[in-house]
Amino acid sequence: MSDDVLIRVENLHRYYGELCAVRALNFELRKGEVLGLLGPNGAGKTTAMQIISGNLAPSVGRVWIGGIDLLDDPRGAKTQLGYLPEQPPLYREFTVDEYLGFCARIHGIPRAGVRDAVAHARARCGLREVGGRLIGNLSKGYRQRIGIAQAIIHTPAVVILDEPTVGLDPIQILEIRDLIRSLGEAHGVIVSTHTLPEVQAVCNRVLMIDRGERVLYGSLEEITRDGGDHGLTAAFRHPPQAAEVATLPGVARVEALPDGRLRVQPKPGADPVEALVARAVEGGWGLYELIPERTSLERLFVDLVYRDARPGTKPPSPAPVPTEAA
């Protein structure tokens, strides 16, 4: 096993009675990677994270953290681990400083280093002003950040974050994403989420699971490259002929959609948007809507998760979904 593999998961299974929550999961996390764990609700994301963090024993399979087997030497493996569960584990009657101090101590930071560790974690998570406040009196966003501070206080090699941006406002989400990206430079990070833009914003590797099984695993570039180039949908007040648009540089194909819009498929690697807009102004076409098609990750997600349509569920319509700005 090479040195920079931080987490190795082999053939992981987890049963709850008859229900198999995680089935035959294999993956690796290397240093410098941010792995996005994706999946619909109930796919087994949280179960997988609970197993890797030592909160749940696997039914079958093994987990190595930094080369140490989690089941053979849990203490050694867990020193390299920071974990933020779905619900931040906070003692509400403590102040932020007291709580983080306690977390530092139980993660094996010597007494003399606690003050620095707490100050550092607070600074990284934007908690500078609230050190003396009671956790119970702080807002949800702050509590989430305290939860993240708790997970990184001992600068572990691996940080596992279960839906870290839930309940935060958009500015805080951007800050936390920046934090995750910077964590990913020196450590390995696993982030679970069900918002796709988040994966595209922070992750460089994706593991998609559905009903406990791995359906997709690879680097973000590989996945988006395989997904092909994105099309555009444009709406005009005075629609031009499709053939006319097709002559624009960078356009591979144009088709007229039944609602009067045009779907523009660009040539690989080309971006025809500017040319299209310039020509639309010139020709007085009255361009009033220009939507990039759903990103390939989203298309993949829908394709993979709904590939064998479950009884009673239909794949969502292929209309472009406005994505959250990342």
């Binding site: 963090s53 569960p85 003692y91 101590r105």
Partner: protein
């Protein structure tokens, strides 16, 4: 590591009004009973002078007070032990401990010792009452020490049983009522054996009360101490096993 956990537990206790309320109520009740016993002693004192080998003030005032303390604390201890693990479950704070490099044994011992520290503080405050009698006379320190050792062991046993009950559930109140039920049962268990001579030995041995009574009389018997130590170890091991089983839940 155990110390960090124990101190956190103690701090959490004192950050909640419950611990203060319990200290106040228990000390008030015991002070009342103590004063009543002192009054009684003053009443019978003239008669005691004429009896050879008469019981002293320690036997008349302190032993009954410690006997009452054992019952009052049986009612109160479940209220303190109920939160130990059930509350962590309910507030979803257990993952913090489980994903840290600490073993289940350390978690359980840390919580247990934190609670014992609280009870030691309580015992020290209770001990001030009999010690105040030194202002007016002498005490039998041997009996006093045996009595307090008995109460300390009893509280340690209550805590161990309570900790185990707390590890079984996520509802603190359920933990409290089951702890109380268990303790009361073990308190009166020897009442059942009286009718049938063959069984009475087992029930008498299991009784929390019997072992405490002999210590209150000033009789230090290793058998009694061993009983409490066995009791404590059993419940601590059960708690560790129970927490371990959480990870394996089906």
């Amino acid at each position: 590591m155990i110390r960090t956990l124990a101190l956190r537990e103690l701090r959490s206790l004192f950050l909640s009004p419950l611990a203060w309320a319990i200290l106040a109520v228990v000390l008030f009740l015991l002070a009342w009973l103590f004063l009543a016993q002192v009054e009684y002693f003053q009443m019978v004192q003239p008669r005691l002078v004429s009896i050879p080998n008469a019981p002293g003030i320690t036997a008349i005032v302190v032993a009954p007070m410690l006997g009452d303390a054992a019952i009052i604390l049986m009612l109160v201890a479940p209220l303190l032990t109920m939160r130990l693990i059930a509350d962590e479950r309910r507030n979803h704070t257990l993952p913090l401990l489980l994903s840290s490099p600490i073993s289940m044994t350390e978690i359980v011992l840390g919580k247990y010792l934190g609670l014992l520290l609280f009870f030691l503080i309580l015992l020290a405050l209770i001990a001030l009452m009999p010690l105040s009698l030194l202002m007016g006379g002498g005490l039998d320190f041997g009996t006093l020490a045996a009595g307090f050792l008995g109460l300390a062991l009893l509280l340690a046993a209550y805590s161990a049983a309570g900790l185990f009950m707390s590890s079984l559930t996520r509802q603190p109140t359920v933990a409290a009522i089951s702890t109380f039920g268990l303790l009361l049962l073990l308190w009166v268990i020897d009442w059942a054996g009286n009718a049938r001579p063959g069984m009475s030995g087992v029930f008498t041995y299991l009784s929390l009360l019997r072992h405490y009574e002999s210590l209150l009389k000033g009789l230090f018997n290793t058998k009694d101490v061993l009983y409490y130590l066995l009791f404590i170890t059993t419940f601590l091991v059960l708690s560790i096993r129970r927490l371990d089983a959480d990870r394996l839940q089906h």
